[in-house]
Amino acid sequence: MRDIDYDKYYAKHCARYYGWLPAIEKYKVEFNRRSLKYFTLCARQAIDVFMLEIEKLLLRDESKRLPNVVICEKDKNVALEILNLVRPPLKEAVIQGALEDILLFQDDNRTRGISPDTYVRNREIRDRLRIKMLSERLKMFFPFDIINFDPYGNFLNPDLNRNKLYQSLRKIFELQEQVSAFLLLVTTPIFDIHPDSDSQLRIDFESNVSKHKKIHDVLLSSVHTIAYDEIKNKKRIAIGFAKSIVLAAAKSTGWNCEHQGIYVYQNEHGNRFLSSVAKVYKTHVSLDESAYVEDIIRIIKDMPEYYSYKDSLKNKEVIEHLEKIKKYRKEVKNEYRK
């Protein structure tokens, strides 16, 4: 999956261009930010970072570097490629490790009370201490304005209870507690869904329909059915993903979501991915059910947008935009050689 050439992956860029970009621009204006603090799990081509820079959503400092951009990457080889692309423009170090391990790190008997700066002969303990160090460092960077959670794994496989990605998402909500709002972009493959996840989506959907008359009615008027299996796959998963993953994690940690868009796109192998864009904001202890219902209704009515691989190859606007980013990225490299 990760061997896809993102420099030519126009369908994904449709999601960036039509989804992420306007939502981030809107957030910047609404919260009156000069520059944004951005966390990303970008791919080796770091397109999102350079896109935000050319769109002036990320600004360089006096030393011509991008401050407040934090990248986490699990694969060492990919981390190297990212380093080669974004260094030196990036001001912060890349966090090399699995985000789930870093965010969910907890001391055990081997590491408790030991500083990550301790000389240890045992390699396994050194590895654990390194994760501890990364965990401490990453936590220091929180909160962010934009969190682009585009991980390797699949939120919908394996089942939710054992899903470290879901736990990580919850952890992100917890770590964002110092701000009143932020923008969350979450991406996941939507093929190869685990049966347990599928069942969970179905149960949550049916519970929504029975619990909230408004949702029931909007389903009937928009998709003319309340039966889970009769709803088109893309929409069904969009609703399910928002409800069972994003909103579930948000609600459990005291946040509300306002989905700005959900985008489904296809890669060259025909596999589909979903990217949701939601403004997340603080809610009161007694959860605001009406906001939650409104969000689900918005999704039922207007989402998702779909970008097929084939159609994206003809989308001149998106192709040109991606080319512009690539050209800029090259210019940045050359700039430092002068």
Partner: protein
């Protein structure tokens, strides 16, 4: 009964070499230099070193060379052991593709990374001799509690000391985009991290720019005497760049030698022309090598800039030697640069020996122990590079950072250099003397004029000051009121010490002016005091 043959061969245990290689290198830069050398020998066009600045918790070195074939890995790590280098097997002296002079001799360079981390992964994507493309990956562990403590093993006189282990070896699919050799480690030594991080305080982090021209300015910032002022991280970058076989930083044809600073007469001399031609040839060779070292995104180049400082008189000398020494061919050439002020940064003072293009041990400020100018100010005025193209390699110590001083080739180079330095220092000493004389004369002239002004002003135009050598026995100051002249007798030397002598004259002069100008005692005292103030301000 134990017997011993009359004659025999003495061998070195592989573990000895391994022991040495793990803690061999003088600095971070010299450890990185070994990895760069390997990439150079592998015909790489680029080697990228990343330290994950500013955290320094992830080190990598990736090149696009020919990689390390599996049989080489096997020989290196399994069968024959570290140090079994075959780069020069069969008398091979240059690389296959770019015909670069092969640097490696022993095969211990890769372990230089061991100085910076406790374990690392290597990944090689290469083409077999059969034409088949292959790749593998493996982890090398240097420190773990399953690996015996080396010091203890040595104390226990164990024959085969286990000093490292490899694990997770796997053959992987060849990936053209990863062609070459890569080393990476997240198991970075704390000492390395701490040292690097300590050099990046909040202030440094805020203002650090990685653009090449900004870095050049940083290295030549006038407020800095030494590269050490830049702290360990930038010092590593500078040192690595200087040591690697790389071209000079030369954006406008001004570096390393800025011709504009030399007189046209100087530029016309044969020696100058030879030196400049030599520098240009070397630059062109480095450029032809098609080799880049990118450190944390910076394309390294050798930052050498002469002359440094304003109003210096620069001189350039050429060195060339080509002869047989101890039955072996020794060939070297280079340049020496001298200026009438200290070379900056301090690290460029001395002579840099470059063997096969690679700097050995940085600039040697003793000029290979040149005893005539030890610790003199003028020894700081000279810098130079000598490129050894043939010979001297047997003098190279195992750390590739110093020489065996009793090697015949080293001695030959040393005495040739010292001979040349005699000429260089004779010349700059002469220039310095001349300059000092000139400066003194200028200063005397200036004082003379100021004194004349003071005398005219304070005597309200009554006297003019003249300076003359008068006959023996005449006082220091002679007053001729009729002609309105005060003559300072420059031949009179009341005291031997020049400064004391100067003070006596000043006092005498002030006294005589006051005496012959003032009308009352009070006026005379005030005028004397005023004159002393003014004259002394001028003199001191």
């Amino acid at each position: 009964m134990n017997t011993i043959e009359q004659n025999g061969i003495i061998r070195v245990d592989a573990t000895t070499i391994a022991q040495l290689s793990l803690g061999l290198y003088r600095s971070t830069a010299t450890a990185f230099k070994e990895l760069v050398n390997n990439a150079y020998d592998a015909d790489a066009t680029v080697v990228r070193i990343d330290t994950n600045y500013p955290e320094f918790d992830f080190i990598s070195c990736v090149d696009d060379g020919t990689g390390m074939p599996l049989d080489q890995f096997r020989r290196f790590f399994k069968d024959e052991g570290i140090g079994s280098c075959i780069k020069r097997k069969g008398g091979k002296d240059t690389t296959n593709i770019y015909k670069r002079p092969i640097i490696g001799r022993l095969g211990i360079g890769m372990l230089a990374i061991g100085q910076l981390c406790h374990s690392f992964q290597i990944e090689s994507h290469y083409k077999e001799e059969s034409g088949e493309y292959k790749a593998y990956r493996v982890t090398i562990i240097l420190l773990d509690d399953t690996i015996p403590d080396r010091e203890e093993s040595i104390r226990n006189q164990e024959k085969d000391i286990e000093f490292a282990r490899w694990e997770d070896f796997e053959e992987i699919d060849y990936d053209e985009t990863k062609k070459g050799f890569r080393i990476y480690s997240t198991d970075v030594r704390l000492t390395f991290r701490h040292e690097m991080r300590s050099s990046i305080g909040k202030k440094e982090h805020e203002r650090l720019s990685f653009s090449l021209s900004d870095l050049h300015s940083e290295f030549y910032d006038k407020s800095k005497i030494s590269i050490r002022d830049c702290k360990p991280y930038l010092e590593t970058i500078w040192e690595l760049a200087i040591l690697c076989p790389l071209p000079y930083y030369d954006k406008k044809g001004e570096y390393p030698i800025n011709l504009v600073s030399f007189t046209s007469e100087e530029q016309e001399s044969d020696e100058f022309k030879q030196a400049i031609q030599f520098i240009r040839d070397r630059q062109s060779r480095f450029l032809k090598d098609n080799f880049r070292v990118v450190f944390d995104g910076i394309d390294l180049q050798r930052h050498i800039q002469f002359p440094t400082g304003k109003e210096v008189i620069p001189k350039l000398y050429f060195i060339e030697f080509n002869d047989t020494v101890a039955d072996l061919h020794l060939k070297f050439s280079g340049y020496l640069f001298a200026q009438t002020n200290a070379v900056r940064p301090l690290e460029l003072n001395g002579v840099q020996i470059r063997l096969r293009g690679v700097g050995i041990g940085g600039y040697d400020s003793t000029f290979l122990k040149y005893y005539k100018e030890i610790e003199t100010i003028r020894s700081r005025w000279v810098s130079g590079e000598i490129f050894v193209d043939q010979g001297l390699e047997q003098a190279l110590n195992i750390d590739r950072d110093s020489f065996n001083e009793h090697d015949e080739h080293f001695k030959a180079l040393q005495s040739f250099l010292h001979e040349k330095l005699n000429t260089v220092f004779d010349k700059i000493n002469a220039i310095a003397r001349e300059r000092s004389e000139e400066r003194r004369n200028k200063k005397d002239e200036k004082i003379k004029k100021s004194m004349q002004t003071i005398v005219v002003k304070e005597s309200k135009g009554k006297f003019k000051l003249l300076q003359r050598d008068l006959k023996e026995g005449t006082p220091i100051v002679v007053v001729n009121e009729d002609k309105g002249k005060i003559i300072l007798n420059t031949a009179a030397r009341p005291l031997k010490k020049k400064k004391a002598d100067m003070i006596i004259r000043a006092v005498e002069l002030a006294y005589q002016i006051a005496k012959h100008t003032a009308k009352t005692d009070e006026e005379r005292d005030n005028l004397f005091s005023q004159l002393i103030k003014e004259i002394f301000t001028e003199l001191i």
